[in-house]
């Protein structure tokens, strides 16, 4: 997934490309320390909800969701002292908007050893917007196995859902206009941790 969730359907940058510098009207809404604290809180919430790390599998949605999932797994390991399996789930081939958008690059799907059957899968993505990516992810999961439960953790929830989907764990609720764009930068991809809102003015 790209970090740019847009209101209409303009060209979507490919997921793995480093994002360009924020536009001049961009305003920073989260900085590195806040992203860190949000991830720590999500890690604790996931453990509280699951009553420990048993049976958990984290699946990140490419590109930035995968890096967030890996970071969450490190937090979980620090807190609980047990390794939580991490994987990547590419949802491109399950999207419902393939004909409305320019061609999308297909990312890798990597399931951890042991798969997802009878596990509790925590989907991890950077921005929750229309909910269509998560719908596609749920379809992709059902082709891969039958988890005991699927939960959703996102760094930013910007609202404007088009489907009955909600996140279980949210780093930050960001009320936005549909004309605005939310950009998530992560050190692994973009060289720094930050969240920006652009446009709309």
């Amino acid at each position: 997934m790209s970090s740019a969730r847009r209101a209409t359907a303009p060209p979507v940058p490919t997921g793995s490309s480093p994002s360009v510098q924020p536009a001049p009207d961009a305003r920073s809404v989260l900085e590195a320390a806040e992203i860190n604290r949000a991830l720590s809180r999500i890690a604790h919430e996931v453990l509280e909800r699951n009553k420990g790390a048993g049976g958990l599998v984290l699946l990140g949605i490419p590109t930035r969701g995968v890096h967030l999932a890996r970071r969450l797994a490190r937090r979980l390991a620090e807190i609980e002292g047990t390794e939580v399996p991490v994987g990547a789930l590419d949802v491109t081939m399950h999207r419902d908007d393939l004909r409305r958008q320019p061609m999308r690059t297909i990312g890798a799907t990597d399931l951890p050893d042991g798969g997802i059957d009878d596990r509790v899968v925590v989907l991890v993505d950077d921005v929750l917007y229309s909910g269509r990516t998560i719908r596609a992810a749920l379809d992709a999961i059902s082709d891969l196995g039958r988890p005991r439960a699927v939960r959703l953790a996102v760094l930013v929830d910007r609202g404007h859902r088009e489907l009955p989907i909600r996140a279980d764990h949210v780093g930050k609720n960001l009320p936005t206009s549909q004309l605005e764009r939310v950009r998530v930068h992560l050190a692994e991809v973009d060289g720094e941790d930050s969240v920006w809102i652009e446009g709309g003015a």
Binding site: D90, M93, L98, R99, R100, I106, T109, D143
Partner: protein
Amino acid sequence: MKHLLSAADLDRDAAVSVLDVAEQMAATQQREIKKLPTLRGRTVVNLFYEDSTRTRISFEAAAKRLSADVINFSAKGSSVSKGESLKDTALTLEAMGADAVVVRHPVSGAPHRLAHAGWIQGAVVNAGDGTHEHPTQALLDAFTLRRHLVGADSNPTERPEQRDSRDWLGQDLKGKRVAIVGDVLHSRVARSNVLLLNTLGAEVVLVAPPTLLPVGIDSWPCTFSYDLDHVVQGGHGDLDAVMMLRVQQERMNAAYFPSVREYSRRYGLDARRMGALPDHALVMHPGPMNRGLEISAEAADSVRSTIVEQVANGVAVRMAALYLLLSGENS
């Protein structure tokens, strides 16, 4: 990408991107549920004017794995035998709402005509036209070569988790050397492979008797030789793969070589020539094989042979081609 008519339609980045998408498609084919909803509601027509087993089945499997509807049309037993023209058949397909037409035709250039005559709106994929081109075969050969020489299978001593990292995606075949041996004159596979492998940075050596090399071979982006022994012994540099071509007896009304035995002795791949190759060199054949003619049973069944694997890779590559042609707002 609107149509896939020639291997020359793909520049280096486009070709690598087809191979990368094919790698992801191949990964989905390892799962229990192999079907993806990606092309649901789209219609793919396989329009085959020439006999084919693996190409037609491969395209059919690829389209079905992506949930497209597939209509198979073969000239035998259709109105073509009553004299219907390509144009009228195309207009019929357009009326039925074909989103993509996969065409194999005995006449070189027929897919180009189909794509550019304005008869149909959909994407056209060349599945082999006369002695001209067969781009998806070249793509699956390049895919097989890259897997073995650059990618996951290039270093079997690595630990599995390193092999799974897929760091090698995005790479081409730079510096690899491939010999293509046999009936180059009639081979659309050879033509497409020369173009594509050259685009991907590999060197190609064509080996054939002078009668089976086309006129104007000097202008192709490759070297050529009449002496297979010299080439397998490293006369043109160490080989990374040898691709044997089928002797196309159905296109040889005139004799192009004195006898089958002489051809087999001079241009067949046997155990002795296999022994002269570097240890890592692959043995490839686009199929169908004439065992004992261009390739001996020992060579065809050896551990270095990728012939069966090429068929499996064909499905992944054709899934990638259909995905790239049929998704996106331009289609």
